[in-house]
């Protein structure tokens, strides 16, 4: 067992489904045509893309023409936010302001995009979150004004797994829109939610929704943006007329086939969620019981969290050193702390939740998935206390 590797970082990426790879292979070999070509080679590619688009549309309960394939979820977030603002700018009168509401715990792809737009003079409101990692809907209601153009809120957080009430937010916005001549659009980054939660866009009342293939056992390098018919959007990558003229560039046919296949396989049923919750509870109970001075960050209520992501803090230990030490034991997890990124600052998510800096630096994210076993969780719980104890001896805390 100790020689094998244990992967508990499914929120970072998931392994590619073997069946899906098989479906992708022809488009990496024999069926290499450019989908824009009108001969047989090209048609093979373009009809494969059509099929994939239909599968995605079925999952989201929307029209195929409302789906745009991109190169990543980050690109989709950028297209949603920048693309909308770019299109609105053309429509606005001189002096009319643009306003975006988002939250302090968004993925960097949204947060940094908003910060960038802020430099261009666009007003951005960053909603706070409570210790549970959730925004307050009254806060949101209070911030929406007639000049608000966009609300961008993530469905489920990638660091702590907290789930926002997207359906309620969608309802609030659509009710406000009834009395407004200029609508507020609603974008949702649903990357972490897709495996577990209802993503039907009509249910959620969203205008824009981001998905990623590699978080749902698909290939890397493919993202999706759902754009509700009639939503103003301008292309960020200009060139050919690919993807309804919203994303120029020859399509990643194999990748798109992959995301179509993988999305059709998602079974976000109660039984699947329950199965993961049992594993999660075992993990949480085992860790809290065996490691003194440990705690779980974020909401404890099942309906407010994903079943597969747990964020712990271990007092007296720094997250990165814990990740490196566990890696030596063959266990792959990650830190909520941004210590290894360029900033050296603690996680913006945990800080927004009100965690003291040292607690935020002592965090560890464990994320499980389709192939996680009880045996692996047992092994993790067996190894962890010793590793934490050793680091505490070094820290003297």
């Amino acid at each position: 067992m100790s020689k094998s590797r244990i992967y508990l970082d499914y929120a970072a990426t998931t392994p590619l489904d073997a069946g899906v790879l098989k479906k992708m292979m022809p488009y990496l070999t024999d069926k290499y045509g450019n989908p824009s070509s009108i001969h047989k080679f090209g048609q093979e590619g373009s009809s494969a893309i059509d099929e994939a688009r239909k599968k995605v549309a079925r999952f989201l309960n929307c029209k195929p023409m409302e789906i745009v394939f991109t190169g990543s979820a980050s690109e989709s977030d950028n297209l949603a936010i920048r693309g909308l603002i770019k299109a609105l700018k053309h429509k606005k009168q001189a002096g009319e302001r643009i306003h975006i509401i988002t939250s302090k715990i968004e993925h960097k792809a949204v947060l940094e995009t908003c910060r960038d737009l802020e430099k261009e003079g666009i007003r951005i409101t960053y909603l706070p979150v409570g210790p549970d990692g959730l925004i307050n809907l009254d806060d949101l209601r209070a911030e929406i004004t007639p000049e608000t153009d966009l609300v961008s809120i993530m469905y489920a957080n990638n660091e702590i797994g907290s789930v926002q009430s997207i359906k309620k937010i969608g309802k609030i916005i659509s009710e406000i829109n009834k009395n407004e001549e200029h609508p507020t659009y609603f974008h949702v980054d649903a990357v972490q939610a897709a495996n577990w939660l209802d993503c039907r866009v009509d249910d959620l009342k969203v205008d824009l929704l981001t998905l990623s293939a590699h978080k749902i056992y698909g290939p890397k390098g493919v993202g999706i943006l759902y754009i509700k018919e009639g939503t103003p959007i301008a292309s960020l990558i200009t060139g050919g007329s690919h993807e309804w003229k919203l994303r120029a560039g020859t399509e990643n046919v194999a990748g798109i086939v992959g995301i179509g296949e993988v999305i059709a396989k998602i079974r976000n049923t109660k039984a699947e969620i329950r199965k993961m919750e049992i594993l999660r509870n075992k993990l949480v109970d085992g860790v809290l019981e065996n490691v003194q001075g440990s705690k779980v960050n974020g909401s404890k209520r099942p309906e407010e969290r994903l079943p597969n992501i747990v964020n712990f803090s271990f007092l007296g230990v720094e997250g990165e050193s814990l990740v490196i030490a566990l890696n030596e034991e063959g266990i792959a997890v990650s830190t909520g702390s941004a210590c290894t990124s360029t900033s050296l600052m603690p996680s913006h998510v945990l800080i927004a939740m009100g965690l003291p800096e040292l607690d935020a630096h002592s965090s560890l994210r464990v994320s499980m998935g389709r192939y996680t076993t009880v045996k692996e969780i047992d092994y993790f719980i067996k190894i962890l206390p010793r590793v934490v104890e050793k680091l505490r001896k070094i820290s003297g805390r």
């Binding site: 490196i324 050296l344 003291p356 630096h361 001896k393 820290s395 003297g396």
Partner: protein
């Protein structure tokens, strides 16, 4: 995530100098909660020769902060205070086979803690 080299990993997984010294002659500190690294050096100093005869560390921090702490202890032990003050962060980094660029501040942190201790003792 930076991939640490063998030397760094060795000093991280098997540090030789961690722990407290009872009745130290002086204590040096560096770091802040914001960056997540907090370190304390405990020194025993021979009054006559002004040599560091004992040195230990306690470090809350990332793997390279722990490795750098162990290295500064190794480098400082047996040196006179004047010699020890001359150890700079580049020496610590070099002895560890070069820290990743993002982690160079760890070497600066440990030299800060050592200077803090020595300056207090003086």
């Amino acid at each position: 995530m930076p991939i640490y080299n063998k030397q760094i990993m060795q000093h991280f997984t098997n540090p030789k100098f961690f722990g407290k010294i009872n009745n130290p002659d002086v204590i040096g500190k560096a770091g802040n909660p914001r960056c997540g690294d907090l370190l304390t050096l405990y020194l025993k100093i021979d009054e006559k020769s002004r040599r560091i005869k004992g040195i230990k560390f306690e470090t809350l921090g990332c793997a390279s902060a722990i490795a750098s702490s162990d290295m500064i202890c190794k480098l400082a032990k047996g040196k006179t205070l004047e010699q020890a003050l001359k150890i700079d962060f580049q020496d610590v980094s070099d002895e560890l086979g070069t820290l990743p660029p993002l982690k160079i501040h760890c070497a600066q942190l440990v030299t800060e803690a050592l200077s803090d201790a020595i300056n207090k003792y003086k």
